[in-house]
Amino acid sequence: MNLLVNGKRIQVPATVKTITDVKNHFNITNPVVIVEHNGEILDKAKHPEKEVADGDKIELVQFVGGG
């Protein structure tokens, strides 16, 4: 399956089915991350159930502390 993640076309394995799977695929353990799925910001509670499909546009923004 192909996804457009943060402006970059990326191929993910078929085991990636939900937003949580996408986060796991990118090893995102940061608890503070905003996810936009096809132009809509998702409630964090919906990440485990929200399914992704071929061609979906996903933006993942992580809050980091350094400066």
Partner: protein, 338 residues
Amino acid sequence: MHDRYSRQILFSGIGAEGQEKLENKHALIIGAGALGTGSAEILARAGVGELTIVDRDYVEWSNLQRQQLYTEADAEERMPKVIAAKKRLEEINSGITIHAHIIDVTPVELEQLIHGVDLILDATDNFDIRMIINDTSQKYSIPWIYGSCVGSYGISYTILPGVSPCLHCLMENIPIGGMTCDTLGVISPVVQLVIAHQTAEALKILTEKTDRLRQELISFDLWNNQQSTIQVRSLKQQQCKSCGDHANYPFLDYENTTKAEILCGRETVQIRPSSRETKDLETLAIKLKKLGKVKQNPYLLQFTIGDDRLVLFRDGRVLVHGTNDAARARSLYHRYLG
């Protein structure tokens, strides 16, 4: 009369009128590390009339790779960052006023610092202080610009009180034990890109061209060639305690601040975080082992790096040994624990 600002005045977005506005404005920069030194240099060169820079730390050799106002002599002499920064900035522009304060900023200090300030620029390294900045910004209606970077990743967001969702709306909880430049490293180009975003927004605010503000949360990874902008207007929460209808500014409350207490006669400072969450010492141990020596038992973790020794308890408390200086202890705490 020099023509030092001529290229900026020629730029149609600013012009002579914008330049005059800049000369009558006051920006407060919190933190004089990588982001703070870069932003301060740009604003000083741009002719912002008054700059206040605050920081609690001194210059170290590991700063020189990216903290652009400092020299080898500053590191050698362990010069307080704001003193070294002020000296260099006055060489760059003698026509503006620069205030430097060597302090550890808590809500009390911030309330004293913000009088007459038109904009707060975030150049800090932790979310404890950012939530304090966020609440102060809302309480006194002063815009602020969040900026941060780690590794090759950077992020920035501009908050106009009464208009934008605030940082508390965007972040339901405060990350603790997160990624920092001292645990994951950082490359200078991403620092510069965050600075570029923060200072461009700063110039718009200081020249009163707020209609030109970005209004989006922007993030980028320069090593992995990714970038993202998200429109976050929908995240504004009416019930937000920092910016909602019944705001009570929880992060200005002493109970919710991270506290540092000097333990008499022990050359130790105890840091007590505001949240009472149980800490995952095992995950922390894996991260810290890459940097220094870690010793562990079921109740606590001891981390030694160079001359510094930190002992972490599961309830979140940290003992910083070898110092009686609360600011130094806080600095080490945020450096290694986020």
